[in-house]
């Protein structure tokens, strides 16, 4: 019988964290920015069908970086959680805070108990009636949860990207401005000034979906043409 070497808990956790960080650092970045018209979620993603951004519930959206299979299973679990909760209580009772804390618990449990931690980082966004009521949560692979103000940046070169967003962000940016800022930020580690509309995946949580579109579902995916139009159009 082979005897396992002793590894201290500190070392074990550090190894796991390093492993997860390396996996996430390989991925492209995602930014979530709150603006005057709502919350924009923008990811560098050339695939039109394998999404990094998804709808969870009426006012709640999800964005992720890292391994697709892992964050996709978390997204689906989030949709199930929200739909069961909304069905058994009421649609109003589904909140980003509740969802984020469920995600935090699952990520934390996987980080300590499973063979390998999830190599993902998530953002859960909830749009409110006013910008002060917006909620942005950022969840890391070990189950840490952070309540962010204004914007969330995740992924490989998050610090550089966050620098650009922080420099350009203020509360009353419109949708086109937010999108332009996001695309500019996502291009920081590249030669170009901004990514083309076809290389990004973008969605918004409209602040006024009820009055604007007559729908309680605030989530709206932006088509490539729409993104290009918003990026080039004068605001």
């Amino acid at each position: 019988m082979t005897q396992q070497f002793y590894v201290s808990p500190e070392q074990l956790m550090k190894d796991r964290a390093d492993f997860a960080r390396k996996g996430i650092a390989r991925g492209r970045s995602v930014v979530v920015i709150s603006g005057a018209d709502g919350i924009a979620l923008v990811a560098e993603n050339p695939s039109p069908s394998l999404h990094k951004i998804g709808e969870i519930y009426d006012k709640i959206a999800f964005a992720a970086v890292g391994k697709y299979n892992e964050f996709e299973s978390l997204r689906q679990a989030g949709v199930r959680y929200a739909d069961v909760r909304g069905y058994s209580y009421d649609r109003e009772d589904v909140t980003a805070r509740g969802l984020a804390s469920v995600y935090a618990q699952s990520l934390g449990a996987v980080f300590t108990a499973e063979q390998k931690p999830f190599e993902v980082e998530l953002a859960v966004a909830e749009v409110g009636r006013t910008q002060e009521q917006d909620h942005l949560y950022r969840l890391t692979f070990d189950g840490s949860i952070a309540d962010e103000k204004g914007f969330v940046v995740m992924g490989g070169v998050a610090e550089q990207v966050a620098g650009v967003v922080a420099a350009g962000w203020h509360a009353d940016l419109g949708l086109a401005d937010v999108l332009r800022l996001a695309v500019k930020a996502l291009a920081t580690d590249k030669e170009v000034d901004a990514l083309p509309g076809t290389a990004v995946e973008a969605a918004v949580l409209d602040r006024s979906s009820e009055s604007g579109r007559g729908s309680r579902r605030a989530f709206r995916r932006l088509r490539a043409e729409e993104i290009t139009q918003l990026l080039t159009g004068e605001a």
Partner: protein, 269 residues
């Protein structure tokens, strides 16, 4: 070694909300209950639903009455709801179960859309509703039947389509028009005379209101337009642009002109 978390998630992989509830929270389903022996006390029943097609869309309308034996349980119950962006349904039968089945069906369609990232086909939606009604068969045998009428716009073929159901979940595609509920016999008679090809949307709304008026005239469990309380039937149309609820103002005008024309005619029916 198989990752237990991943294995667990894979077995959970279903795009159906109903299946998910059946596995994890069966007590939340409106059906699948085993009822104890005994007599079921009177419960509210919803009555007449009519549906008809017109070029470019379909329409579903329902009166506002629920009855409990000889008592009017509600004068303003709503029995027609949008199922998703491109389909609507009306339900006759046990009101409590019907409203929960509608709620479940709405979540079922939205859940599929969110998980799969695409809308379910119209036939797929109609089949899912049939499966739910079949799930309710045990309750139907105890006298708690629920009968829906489903209508939607088929985005592929570009036409509006109608589906009726029986208590066993049997799904039947209807052409032109159909009605369900206690006043359906009278409503169908009216629809047969009033429906014609090439109705405009406004004319289709008027035909549905006339049919409900006739049902209310002869069936005590169907409510007619109520100018005293300003209550009108609930009417939804579905076309390529999606489902739309006809406004109270439009319905008041249509109901007014029906009452007026019948008063002028001064005939027995």
């Amino acid at each position: 070694m198989q990752d237990p978390a991943a294995g667990h998630l894979a077995t959970q992989a279903t795009s159906s909300f109903t299946e998910h509830l059946q596995r994890s929270r069966p007590e939340l389903l409106p059906f699948n209950q085993t009822l104890p022996a005994g007599h079921i006390p009177p419960v509210p029943h919803g009555t007449t639903i009519v549906a008809l097609s017109y070029p470019g869309g379909v329409l579903v309308a329902g009166d506002r009455r629920a009855t409990m034996g000889n008592v009017i349980a509600s004068r303003h119950i709503e029995k027609v709801f949008p199922a998703d962006e491109y389909s609507v349904l009306g339900i006759a039968g046990t009101a409590g179960l019907a409203i929960d089945i509608i709620r479940l069906f709405q979540v079922e369609l939205e859940h599929y859309e969110k998980i799969e990232g695409t809308l379910l086909s119209l036939d797929g939606k109609a089949n899912r509703l049939g499966a739910m009604i079949r799930g309710n068969l045990g309750m139907a045998m105890q006298g708690l039947a629920v009968i829906p009428l489903f209508a939607g716009f088929d985005l592929v073929s570009g036409v509006g389509r109608l589906f009726s159901y029986d208590v066993t979940g049997g799904r039947y595609e209807e052409i032109e028009h159909h009605s369900v509920g206690s006043g359906s016999v009278f409503a169908r008679g009216a629809l047969k005379k009033l429906w014609r090809p090439n109705l405009t949307e406004d004319e289709a709304v008027a035909v549905a209101m006339e049919a409900l008026y006739d049902a209310a005239d002869d069936d005590s469990a169907t409510g007619g337009p109520d100018p005293v309380r300003q209550l009108w039937p609930v009417v939804y149309t579905v076309n390529r642009a999606g489902a739309r609820r006809i406004s109270e103002r439009e319905l008041a005008a249509v109901a007014g002109s029906i009452v007026e024309s019948r008063a002028v005619a001064g005939r027995e029916a």
